[in-house]
Symmetry: C2
Subunit: 350 residues, 2 copies
């Protein structure tokens, strides 16, 4: 028996509700595989901050690093000043653990309610850079609160940081439909944009079988609603990836279904898996959050850790559950399930 | 007879095709009003750059400044390195003429083809800041082309710059449905985000009749497809405004319909009116570009210059033409018109 040591950070709001369902699915997926899991729960997020003023201590970080992977629910609460938990906890984990690939697949399951009249075949992956750009926390403010205030935010982009994520994206495209689209805004952000472009061109020479394309971020938000089927692998910076994956979630039926992996492909640090959705304070505590995104994040985790079989079973279970939902919608009797009931239904299908 | 002096910059690609239609509509709208127009055409864009290496000289700028307003087609061509015309011409005009309000209305006309299954009532205005943010051209690169390259882009935000555009947005909201939404990302971009937020809060105190809301840019791209009817006036920074207005164009039937005004409300410099769409090299020269966005930009121009009557007539003509198109679509015989035919049809309705 080998054991996967998972650091579990339920976090805030519905994070607390969806994580138990994800763990249930994880346990089921590994049943009879000779691998089991051991979890360590970390009390991080709004409650901890209110109690201690801490977001993530060096000691927390050291303990988390000793795990094979991290499962995170959601971070953020209206009772905490904006940015404190996001930057002090979530982004601190992504940066400290060098999660340079933020992997966000989007897939449309037939029959799922979508705002699009004709979603078509949507099946793409956004490879979002996770350790640079405007998320670097590099900025400041002068004369705050006066009429002379000036506030800056610096997008930091390095050849080192861009090349490694671009390489990951090309390798992924080769395993998929062999189309890679760089999304940026190089006609305005000429310094960062030209760096991204040159690196995509040069790495692309090693992947002559992968067709590369380019799209400005503004145009990409158009294609995302008019023709999302055109995308296979999108590679982009931290902020553009944030924006595009929320829109992608919306067109494929809601970010309640979107999973993500914050990957450290070198394996130096544990990777972190989390639903794309936030803590959703408006529906927290009511047991109505959809745990599908969290469960799909477990599939990404299993796959990343080399358990392709169990990962595939989780994905197949989600697909079957989505089909059941679509069937119920068509019959005019949409399933009204609690978080736990949806978790149980998917787990039973694994 | 008073005369409006219009600087005309057709620019590149379909800019050359849509501008004549817009001028035709402009002339017609002013017929019999005691105001006529005098135009000065400026040869700016890709051809000029290839011939002379110039994008916009001090002399050009001085001559342009002597006009009452500017009508611009589109800027950008694949034969010119990315950023040269955008930053050297388009953004230079916006910055040199202090176009701090980039006004972009979105309206859905019944029956217009849209990717959304149920667009609902869409009628909002994005007030995009036009002279700061990541568009400031404040960034650089070191060790370019080496594995040690670092490229930065700095978003510059000042209380002065933010307050004036926020004031404009509140005044506009008061004249409309009295709802203002700030779009930013203050949980990550804490310096700039908190500046925007504080200013919206403090100016909002002077507008107790206007309801203010907030939305992160990523969530805003979701609402834009799931519930665009929720928006009335959106105020946001330069980059987020760029992204959101393209998506808004897509959901309301294509950016071939979206107009914009780059306003200098103080009147110190001429304001500039342009379609949101670009030069569209893929369809340029084929006479199939839709001139509606350019004509709608003329309506914004007339309104800004104090000619509310003619502006309203142009808008009404566009609405009637959109209804005719919708009718033709319903009848299964979509109108196949050239740029000129559409321009003529709308002009005839003014
Ligand atoms: C909560 C926030 C800091 C985060 C981000 O911007 O990355 C979220 O939107 C996401 O996409 O994971
Ligand atoms: C062409 C480009 C520089 C411009 C911008 O980014 O502002 C365009 O996208 C727009 O929205 O007017």
């Amino acid at each position: 028996m080998t054991t996967l040591n998972i650091a579990v950070i339920p976090g805030d709001g519905i994070g607390q509700e969806v994580v138990p369902e994800a763990l249930k699915a994880l346990a089921r997926a590994l049943e009879g595989t000779g691998t089991d899991i051991a979890t360590t729960h970390f009390d991080l997020g709004a409650r901890r901050w209110h109690r201690t003023g801490e977001t993530l201590t060096e000691a927390d970080l050291a303990r988390i690093k000793a795990h094979d992977a991290i499962l995170l629910g959601a971070v953020g609460d209206p009772s905490v000043p904006s940015g404190v938990l996001e930057r002090g906890l979530l982004l601190r984990l992504r940066f400290a653990l060098d999660h340079y690939v933020n992997l966000r697949p989007s897939k449309y399951y037939d029959g799922v309610p979508t705002p699009l009249a004709d979603p078509g075949d949507i099946d793409f992956v956004v490879v979002r850079e996770g350790t640079e750009g405007l998320y670097a926390g590099n900025g400041g403010a002068l004369r705050v609160g006066t009429p002379h205030e000036i506030a800056t935010e610096v997008s930091v982009n390095t050849a080192y940081g861009v090349e490694r994520v671009v390489r990951y994206a090309f390798a992924l495209a080769r395993k998929r439909r062999k189309r890679l689209t760089l999304v940026h805004k190089h006609n305005v952000l000429v310094n960062a944009g030209h760096l991204w472009r040159r690196i995509v061109e040069s790495v692309g020479r090693e992947y002559p079988d992968v067709e590369t394309g380019y799209c400005h971020i503004d145009a990409a938000t158009i294609h995302m609603v008019t023709d999302p089927g055109r995308f296979d692998v999108i590679v982009t910076d931290n902020l553009f990836g944030d924006i595009l994956t929320d829109e992608a979630g919306a067109v494929t039926g809601g970010i309640g279904l979107s999973a993500s992996g914050n990957l450290n492909p070198s394996g130096e640090f544990p990777s972190m898996f989390e639903p794309v959705h936030g803590s959703a304070p408006d529906i927290a505590g009511q047991g109505k959050a959809d745990p599908t995104a969290a469960i799909a994040s477990v599939a990404l985790m299993l796959d990343f850790l080399g358990h392709g079989g169990p990962a595939g079973r989780v994905e197949a279970a989600i697909a079957r559950d989505m089909a059941a939902r679509a069937e119920a919608n068509r019959a005019g009797e949409p399933l009204a399930r609690t978080t736990e009931q949806t978790g149980d239904a998917i787990t039973a299908l694994i």
